[in-house]
């Protein structure tokens, strides 16, 4: 008796979250404002093999554990054709700490070496089905289409980088660069929730 109700509650909650997008799905290129004030579009990188889109935010302590690792990933894979882009899809009206000004300050103090883009209308988070910070997506560009080749966690240990066993994101990128299939293409992201504005 209680069981059905619990499941109903779960369904109800899931219905409120973003649509789900899976590996193999195509996504549309987006254009967002970077912390330097300039607009950044995926179409600005005609020679890119693909993109690493990482949803993150200013306040989440778990997401902030990955700042240095994202710089390293950007340095390693940017020259190889995979451009790292961070996207902040937080509700910047409700959450003062996620405002554009605070993003600019965060990019400066954390020495971000990659674009940090504001998804003010949460359009990108919705179209990717992003729910957590950090949450990574690897996009491969083929015949003008962008398909998701990996989505999920960056790796399997936030606070202890030296104890990481599975470098999910790097493994996916290495395989793509070597023309091999991505073995683990979907993992669960852990981190703070991305709260979507209601669309009533």
């Amino acid at each position: 008796m209680k069981t059905t109700f619990f499941i109903l509650m779960l369904v109800f909650k899931l219905a409120l979250s973003a649509q789900s997008v899976h590996v193999g799905d195509a996504v549309l290129p987006f254009t967002l404002r970077n912390v330097d004030g300039k607009m950044v579009s995926l179409n600005d990188y005609p020679r890119a093999k693909g993109f690493v889109v990482v949803f993150t935010c200013n306040h989440c302590p778990f997401a902030r554990l990955y700042t240095k690792r994202l710089n390293d990933l950007s340095r390693t894979y940017g020259p190889k054709g995979f451009v790292v882009l961070a996207v902040n899809s937080s509700d910047n009206v409700l959450l003062e700490g996620e405002s554009f000004d605070k993003m600019v300050a965060e990019a400066r103090t954390q020495h971000l070496e990659f674009p940090y883009l504001q998804d003010e209308q949460q359009i990108v988070a919705r179209s990717f089905g992003a729910t957590r910070t950090p949450q990574a997506f690897v996009l491969l560009k083929e015949n003008g289409r962008l398909t998701i080749e990996y989505q999920g966690a960056i790796d399997d240990n936030g606070a202890e980088p030296d104890k990481v066993i599975h470098h999910y994101l790097a493994d996916a990128l290495n395989n793509l660069l070597n023309g091999k299939p991505v073995l683990v293409s979907e993992t669960k992201s852990v981190g703070c929730a991305i709260k979507l504005k209601s669309r009533l």
Binding site: T3, F62, L94, N157, G158
Partner: protein, 571 residues
């Protein structure tokens, strides 16, 4: 056989190495308390950390020490991305300070309730009470203990050195997914004591007080010692019992607290405080033995350790015996009751209003909870008997806000000796009837209600809750809106622009203010101040320069008037 024994020894040794030292929550004392709810993470398992939320950064938050008679001022900052509330569980206080589902704190907002501590020395707690979000926010780790001291308790030779012979024990359980994240479930697979898996602690070989809170979503804990020894109940939810009550088992349900004294005098080695839940039948939370479905869990209907106790040396001045007499409680006499309320617990079969959530919830008084429906109006000063009749096949811990009650009867008989004390939660077992008596005094409010509900957070979220207002009918008539001079609630602000503080000048200095809010130019609430002391002004030193609004709600009429002001800090 020998191999089996060896294997067993191997596993026992391996298990012993997996104990983690019990975390003793930090403490805060004084009369002003700063608590911030924030997202954080914690190492529960090997590998990835678990994302949690917590007050002041730890799961669970700091233990608050209050003295009876003090006025405590709370600065509650919500740094979460979600709204939340902070409920002062067990506290007798104005409804607008209670932290129930109506006192919602939006993100980035500071809520500043205050009240005079009228409760007896005992163990209480604070936790979120946002409607339909209680399971999620309590699971994340938002909550903590409150310890109240008073002159009666302080005069007794009881163990009271926090973390040494006076041990806080917050019991709950959690399940983890493959990425070590919490899953929102009614029952977790792992026992979590004070936010620690497989907890162990060294206690001195003397009388030790355990302040135990059941902070689980649904599980009850049938507490006992692994060596079968007797222990003593000295305090129920809201104060000392008259005399220590010797027991070998104590059933603690969600929301309930109990103070137990265990006697380790003359003992050595180690033993366990255990939950003997294999003795519970399937009508008690944690007694069910589901093998699959959302209620299946590794601890269901099993005995398991709550705390592994290593017995250490005595302290320099150990408590080695308990006083025979603790206090003299004066409970309300059934004859003094003005009325009896009949509260029913049923399932929602046949209930069509509101119809959205279907027929399968447990409910009170044949209806699902509605934020806008007031179940009862309690006349100010009333002494009432509440008779809770459970006609379902499952036990529900019934909790009422504002008051501590005395249990008159359980199924027509006197409550057991260990429940003969002040309570704010009582387990109403399947097909049972409980009668308690309480007095509704000191605080009346026609706008903000108090809640009564099942303290199984899942049931509460599903709508097993009701609300009541305490109304002072005499004063409501004399200050009615018809007598209002329309200009009397007007006010002005000075200085404006303001730096660190802004003050209010009322047209009618005699009017009381029910609520104040400071709102920024985007409509975000920065401060929520129930019943502000206008003489002190408003501390706006933390606000950035810019345009704001101050909204005052008049106490008698509950009308709002809003005035703009400019914050301008010259640097």
């Amino acid at each position: 056989m020998r191999l089996l024994l060896l294997l067993q020894l191997f596993f026992m040794a391996g298990y012993a190495q997996n104990y983690h030292t019990l975390w003793i929550p930090d403490t805060l004392s004084g009369t002003t308390f700063n608590l911030s709810a924030k997202d954080t993470f914690q190492q529960f398992l090997t590998g990835n950390q678990t994302v949690t939320a917590a007050f002041n950064g730890s799961f669970w938050g700091p233990t608050l020490f209050w003295n009876k008679g003090d006025t405590v001022h709370m600065n509650i900052t919500n740094l979460l991305q979600d709204s939340t509330t902070v409920h002062w569980h067990g506290m007798h206080l104005p409804a607008v300070m209670d932290g129930g589902p109506h006192q919602v704190i939006p993100p980035n907002t500071v809520w500043q309730p205050y009240w005079k501590v009228e409760n007896n020395a005992a163990t209480y707690w604070y936790h979120p009470h946002l409607h339909m979000e209680a399971v999620e926010q309590i699971t994340e780790g938002l909550g903590g203990l409150i310890i109240i001291r008073d002159s009666v308790e302080s005069a007794l030779p009881l163990p009271r050195t926090y973390g040494v012979d006076d041990i806080p024990l917050i019991l709950s359980d959690r399940s983890f997914n493959a990425s070590n994240a919490f899953t929102d479930v009614p029952y977790g697979d792992s026992m979590v004591t004070n936010g620690v898996l497989s907890a162990q602690y060294t206690l001195p070989a003397q009388m030790v007080r355990l302040r135990v809170l059941d902070a689980a979503i649904e599980r009850a804990y049938n507490l006992g010692m692994s060596d079968g020894s007797t222990f003593y109940v000295i305090s129920t939810d809201g104060g000392l019992v008259d005399t220590p009550v010797a027991v070998t088992r104590f059933l603690l349900s969600p929301g309930e607290r109990v103070e137990l004294v265990i006697n380790l005098t003359g003992k050595s080695g180690s033993l366990d405080l255990k939950a003997f839940n294999s003795a519970l039948n399937n009508t008690i939370g944690g007694g069910e033995n589901f093998s699959n479905g959302p209620f299946a869990n590794a601890l269901g209907h099993k005995d398991f350790a709550v705390l592994h106790i290593n017995i250490g040396a005595q302290t320099s001045s150990p408590v080695t015996s308990l006083p025979a007499w603790l206090t003299t409680n004066t409970f309300y006499n059934a004859d003094s009751a003005n009325l009896t309320r009949l509260v029913t617990i049923t399932d929602s079969t046949g209930v069509t209003n509101p119809p959205i959530l279907g027929p399968n919830a447990f409910i009170l008084d044949h209806m699902l909870f509605s934020m806008t429906y007031n179940n009862y109006t309690v006349p100010y000063g009333n002494t009432e008997i509440w008779q809770i009749t459970n006609s379902t096949n499952f036990g529900h811990p019934f909790h009422i806000h504002d008051v501590q009650f005395y249990t008159l009867s359980v199924n027509g008989s006197a409550a057991p000796a260990y429940q003969q004390g002040w309570k704010d939660v009582i387990l109403v077992e399947a097909n049972a009837t409980v009668k308690f008596i309480a007095k509704f005094t000191d605080y009346s409010d026609t706008l903000h209600p108090y809640m009564f509900h099942c303290h199984i957070a899942l049931h509460e979220d599903e709508g097993m809750m009701g609300q009541f207002i305490v109304q002072d009918t005499a004063s409501a008539v004399s200050t009615g809106i018809s007598t209002l001079n329309a200009n009397a609630t007007d006010f002005s602000l000075f200085p404006n622009p303001a730096g660190d503080k802004i003050f209010v000048k009322q047209a009618d200095e005699g009017r009381n203010i029910y609520y104040a809010r400071i709102i920024d130019h985007l409509g975000r609430t920065c401060f929520m101040l129930p019943r502000p002391d206008l003489r002190k002004g408003f501390d706006i030193s933390s606000l950035s320069n810019g345009h704001y609004f101050l909204q005052l709600t008049d106490d008698a009429t509950k009308l709002n008037i809003t005035k703009p002001f400019v914050k301008e800090q010259v640097k």
